[in-house]
């Protein structure tokens, strides 16, 4: 007859470990503290690195995100034509761009050289000159008002005015004040030098191109005919949200299919993420600290478990008398220290996440944490506990039952 081997079921091992660890809660917590701090430091460091690295630089600005501007490249020092445009933007640039999918509105805009001509709102030339001002003139295509999201009292000029080169103008708010134009229902005329134009609208506000507010805004066609405007200086485009990047690449080709590289397209910066080498250095430092703390924690667990083995010699002897093999004894102490480590890992992870969340909240960041981190931390803790418990467990298994029972 072969006798039955003695057994030590896993669930018994679990309950024995729980009982042993909860019997002295204060000691258990103090023992776990080093590992708790180590795991917390690791989790918080990695969590904060993750969080900081995922913050989008700046805030999302809808107006900026939908703005695209096209200007000609400037010639740099070739044949003394420094600063001159090397390519011309076509007059129908606005129409061409509006055909692109994703463009809401587009229009050209150019400063008009009026040779220092003074503007006035009264027909009589006043020798004292008190009613005459130098007001800049800007020529735009009708589409610009929409592209710039301008608000106009009265009306803006349309394609008809433009084609006919009608002498009409929209006064910017500031320009209207200076020229003392307060109403438009009587179609006031203003004089720019000796040229008369009819004011058909006043621009009360504009989201883009604020220089329009201080200018006399005239149709392209009029500026071309009367003020010798060669070509539009700039195209202003409003895109749909998210289309700016695409339009930015298409605009130059649409305007200058022969030589798109002659046009410079300004588009909103794409969202970037912070990732600097400085941060990586800081991370390495904190990770090293966390690792050191884990090492200290492991030594703490090893130390206390060893003391506990010595204290519980009598219990070990009793267990052997009750049928525990050396292996069972070792397994019990290993399991206890691993459970302690796992508990510390769990606590440390919670603490680390808490730190990450608090720091993020104080900086208005969105906390970002990789899922594997909190999930694996208890296992890291358990592994540390297991490692720390190896020597004490071996020591416990080497206990001589006869000696142990006599002492206890």
């Amino acid at each position: 007859m072969t006798p039955a081997r003695s057994t030590f079921a896993l669930r018994d091992m679990v309950s024995e470990a729980v009982i042993a660890l909860t019997a002295r809660p204060a000691r258990t917590i103090l023992t776990a503290l080093g590992t708790v701090l180590g795991v917390a430091a690791l989790v918080a460091t990695l969590g904060l690195a993750n969080t900081a690295g995922n913050q989008i630089v700046g805030r999302f600005n809808e107006l900026e995100a939908t703005s695209v501007a096209v200007t000609p490249q400037r010639n740099t020092g070739f044949g003394g034509r420094d600063g001159q445009s090397v390519s011309f933007i076509p007059w129908d640039a606005g129409d061409r761009l509006e055909r692109l999918n994703g463009v809401v509105a587009a229009g050209t805009k150019s400063d008009v050289d009026i040779n220092g001509a003074l503007s006035r709102s009264v027909p009589v030339v006043d020798p004292t000159g008190l009613n005459e001002f130098q007001v800049p003139m800007i020529a735009v295509s009708p589409g610009l008002f929409e592209a710039a999201r301008s608000e106009i009292i009265g009306r803006a000029f349309d394609e008809g005015h433009n084609l006919r080169s009608d002498p009409v103008a929209v006064l910017g708010r500031g320009a209207a004040e200076r020229l003392n134009v307060t109403r438009i229902d009587n179609s006031p005329a203003i004089f720019i030098g000796d040229q008369a134009v009819t004011v058909i609208g006043i621009m009360s506000d504009t989201a883009r191109e604020p220089d329009l507010l201080n200018a006399i805004v005239v149709p392209d066609g009029y500026a071309r005919e009367r003020w010798a405007l060669n070509a539009p200086a700039e195209v202003v485009v409003e895109t749909e949200v998210g289309a700016a990047e695409l339009i930015g690449t298409q605009a130059a080709v649409a305007l200058a299919p022969n030589a798109p590289e002659q046009l410079r397209v300004t588009k909103p910066p794409s969202p970037r993420r912070i990732r600097t080498s400085v941060q990586d250095d800081v991370n390495a430092l904190f990770l090293a600290l966390g690792g050191l703390s884990l090492l200290v924690g492991a030594i703490g667990i090893a130390n206390v478990t060893l003391v506990s083995v010595l204290e519980r010699t009598g219990e070990i002897g009793l267990r052997q008398a009750l049928g525990a093999t050396r292996r069972h004894v070792a397994a019990q102490f290993l399991f206890e220290s691993a459970a302690l480590g796992a508990f510390a890992g769990l606590l440390g992870t919670s603490l680390g996440i808490l730190i990450t969340v608090i720091v993020s909240a104080s900086r208005d960041w969105t906390p970002v944490l990789e899922a594997w981190l909190p999930l694996s931390a208890p296992f890291i803790g358990a592994a540390i506990g297991l490692l720390a418990g190896t020597y004490p467990a071996w020591k416990a298994s080497a206990t001589e039952p006869i000696q142990a029972l006599r002492n206890g």
């Binding site: 007859m1 072969t2 006798p3 039955a4 081997r5 003695s6 057994t7 030590f8 079921a9 669930r11 018994d12 309950s15 024995e16 009982i19 019997a23 002295r24 009598g314 219990e315 002897g317 009793l318 267990r319 052997q320 008398a321 009750l322 049928g323 525990a324 093999t325 050396r326 292996r327 069972h328 039952p401 006869i402 029972l405 206890g408």
Partner: protein, 228 residues
């Protein structure tokens, strides 16, 4: 009558210069239901004999059959299995775990035997009732008297329904009144058919047993006793 313990030429010699012959060739047969006292002065080898009987130590020569199983050449796990199921230990210093209730302490007696927790608890309650402590199930050992603690220890030894109860100076830490009550308990267990072996140095205690083995300088002799 079946033999629970059969020792044939069992010897135990401890290494050293010179080697110590703690137990010289011993032949003892203990049958089921026997109540045996092992008496001897300290250093006589009675602890050595107890450890051999309890499978906590192995003989250097001879064969030991426990409940019909030859313990020679069986594995450590099988020896531990025999300790868990066939032997109940009672110690002089009780060896109760202070942080566990009496019923938990008694249930420990079956920890290394396969079985469910609920069954163990049920048998622990049964064993505690058997030793007269059915009313102190959830008490902690520190709140018990010496006699009560030893009863808890006896209950723990009984939990796995062993073939042999091995008691090492069970009354060594008890006063005379408590001693008497523990010995009464042993009498009861013996009368219910349990095999009991008890080590003691106290002749009065030994007198309660049916058989008395004297041990002196490692030599075991049986005292002729009048059967009651």
């Amino acid at each position: 009558m079946t033999a629970v313990v059969e020792l044939e030429g069992v010897e135990r010699t401890f290494d050293g210069t010179p080697p110590v012959e703690a137990l010289k060739a011993t032949n003892v047969v203990v049958n089921q239901g026997d109540y045996v006292a092992i008496v001897g002065p300290s250093g006589s080898g009675k602890s050595t004999l107890l450890h051999l009987l309890g499978l906590l130590d192995s003989p250097t020569a001879g064969t030991y059959r426990l409940d019909g199983v030859d313990t020679q050449g069986i594995s450590e796990a099988e020896k531990a299995g025999l300790r868990a199921t066939r032997i109940g230990f009672v110690f002089q210093s009780f060896h109760l775990l202070a942080t566990r209730t009496t019923v938990e302490n008694v249930a420990l007696g079956e920890l290394y035997v396969a079985g469910s927790k609920a069954d163990r608890k049920a048998r622990a309650v049964e064993a505690l009732t058997r030793v007269g402590l059915g009313h102190r199930l959830d008490a902690y050992p520190t709140t018990l008297s010496g006699g009560e603690r030893q009863r808890v220890a006896v209950a723990r030894a009984l939990a796995a329904s062993p073939a042999l109860l091995l008691a090492d100076e069970p009354t060594g830490n008890l006063d005379s009144v408590t001693t008497a009550s523990i010995l009464d308990l042993f009498d009861e267990l013996h009368q219910s058919g349990l095999t009991v072996m008890m080590i003691t140095h106290d002749r009065n205690v030994a007198a309660r047993a049916d058989r008395q083995l004297n041990i002196n300088d490692g030599v075991v002799t049986e005292e002729a006793m009048e059967r009651a």
